[in-house]
Symmetry: C2
Subunit: 358 residues, 2 copies
């Protein structure tokens, strides 16, 4: 993920952020909102989640123009106790809604020890890890659950697309080691990976998808005929179902047959549902002791004897952390197609494009 | 699971409960504690979790006699806020510790909307579903996480057994449909299933285990040389790691290399860690509306068009619910080996055995 083709341009993250902010401001977002969304989108790129960063800008722009995203939302708590809240995102950009929700969650978890904040009327918010990570800055553990923005998964044994790849992310801080950050779809492969294989003309490994007869589907050009496979078979189906009920149904957000395919429909509000849980470590134990123990667990895993051919044992988040370090220093790579798309978008919006020389 | 060999005896659950309670009382448990443990153990059998019910009694007895389980524990809250608590189980039976913890969690969730209760100094408590289900009676959603009682899983790419199959369970109520109850290990197969295959002289399907060279291991007699495979590869490894940190490390309970193999060591306190989360639906929405929406989701899944050869699409918990209905009516089946073991145990403890005729 940290690698890039030598022909790729690289951009300073600050230049990318400024560009995204210009574009969103031109569409009517208040400047501070545009900056916050830009920072989170480019953080996705810095961490190697290329399919969830600036790559999504043209789609967001399309949706804003079609009226499917509210540029001036009244994001607010509509129900709350000392430890939980329900947030209505008023169809604002998911990044803003979730940022708000995480702030509420952290404030509540400070005293309550745990908080659970559900969100409705939200939108696609980029990679799950971004929001699970936010509580780390206050020595809290974060857990994020979301209803995905398109259904690609049938119930186990079925062929109707009633479920999304509903992701979950966890972030747990360590002392000297980087935090453990697990960000995963409940399917073996996310749909974006299938698209990437198709672009490259590569076959899919068996186990990613099946066709309507339950046979392995390895030709990514036939992806529309098939289905993603959930992790662990019926277990992954069960997780996708539960996460949808927790992040969607419980919050009054869309789930199941009510989910809008946001790749095909720019206009209908998605009513996306999400959840953030924050756990204040200090209410359980000494924060330093806990972090030191996490360090030890990480090192025990890393130092396990290895299978032949395995170079290094990783903990979740290690690769993204390395990519973040590398891209923060040397810039975010961008392929020509995306670069040209973004320059066209800039001229279309009448804003300054990306810098054309470093 | 609901099937049994025709040679199996069947017992009324009340007879099994009374027998377990007699055995535990003879070992020094207060009568009401013995009854509570008995009820939960036999509920496991009623729901078809045969490897977690009365089958475990001889092992529990061995451990109590060896001093590895405290029959008169002082189970207590050692830390709390309005929404979280940390419970010390004082090495009591896991069933008692978890029952206590769930009560605390439900009382807190009533007003706080959500609660998170961590447990340390606990023990094996049977199937995860039992505890996730308890909040249902108060119209709450339950989530249970546990550190497993023996390590069978290496980190992804490694060969040292540093992780257990750390399970998670979720219980979500419906209106007319049975509740959705997902109870799953983070490995493709639980270790108990491997043992069952070995007993029956059957081969393992590919995908359950690998050997130290990463090759499929299908001979269950060689299970000791190999490792269980986590669901979704590194994803299941990540989940087992995260669940261990949440249920073990955060609570000051054992995790990783500190986990005692309770199949091999009857004496050392296991310091088992568990977590129960309760969510009070009424704080989010109308309970009836929520349950009706869950009914709809269940029916949408069930009514999906099916793959060839698939008779019925299920939601998690459906099979266990059917087994519970069937066994509540016709009794719990028991094979001869277990029956003889339990009768021997009874005479050994000087208590009345199981009824020998129905």
């Amino acid at each position: 993920m940290a690698q890039s083709l030598s022909s790729d341009r690289r951009f300073h993250s600050k230049d990318l952020e400024a560009f995204v902010a210009r574009a969103l401001t031109a569409l009517g977002l208040p400047a501070s909102d545009a900056e916050q969304v830009a920072r989170l989108m480019i953080l996705a790129d810095l961490r190697g989640a290329d399919g969830h960063g600036i790559f999504r800008l043209p789609q967001y722009v399309r949706r804003i123009r079609a009226g499917g995203l509210n540029v001036g939302p009244n994001i607010r708590v509509v129900q709350e106790t000392e430890a939980m809240a329900l947030v209505d995102g008023d169809d604002g950009m998911g990044h803003l809604v979730m940022r708000f929700a995480v702030q509420v969650a952290m404030d509540k978890a400070k005293h309550a020890g745990v908080s659970w904040v559900g969100v409705r009327q939200s939108n696609h918010a980029g990679p799950a890890a971004l929001y699970a990570m936010m509580p780390l800055e206050r020595d809290m553990i974060g857990i994020y659950i979301a209803v995905g923005s398109a259904n690609h998964l049938p119930p186990w044994g079925g062929i109707d697309l009633l479920l999304s790849t509903n992701p979950i992310a966890f972030a747990i801080p360590a002392l000297e080691e980087p935090p453990i950050i697990l960000d995963m779809a409940t399917t073996v492969a996310a749909y974006g990976k299938v698209k990437t294989k198709a672009q490259r003309g590569e076959q899919l490994p068996e186990g990613w998808m099946i066709d309507a007869f339950g046979r392995p589907l390895t030709d990514p050009k036939r992806a529309e005929e098939g289905f993603l496979l959930p992790i662990g078979g019926y277990k992954g189906y069960g997780l996708a179902l539960i996460f949808g009920l927790l992040a969607g149904t419980l919050n009054g957000a869309a789930f199941g047959r009510d989910v809008i395919d946001f790749n095909k429909d720019d206009k209908t509000p998605t009513n996306t549902g999400q959840v953030i849980v924050a756990l204040n470590i200090a209410q359980f134990s000494s924060v330093e002791t806990f972090k030191r123990n996490v360090d030890e667990v990480i090192r025990d895993m890393r130092n396990s004897r290895r299978m032949p051919g395995v170079e290094r044992i990783r903990v979740p988040g290690e690769q993204s952390h390395a990519t973040w370090l590398e891209r923060s220093a040397t810039g975010v790579p961008m392929n020509d197609t995306l670069f040209r798309d973004l320059q066209r978008l800039a001229s279309d919006l009448g804003v300054e494009g990306l810098p054309t020389s470093d």
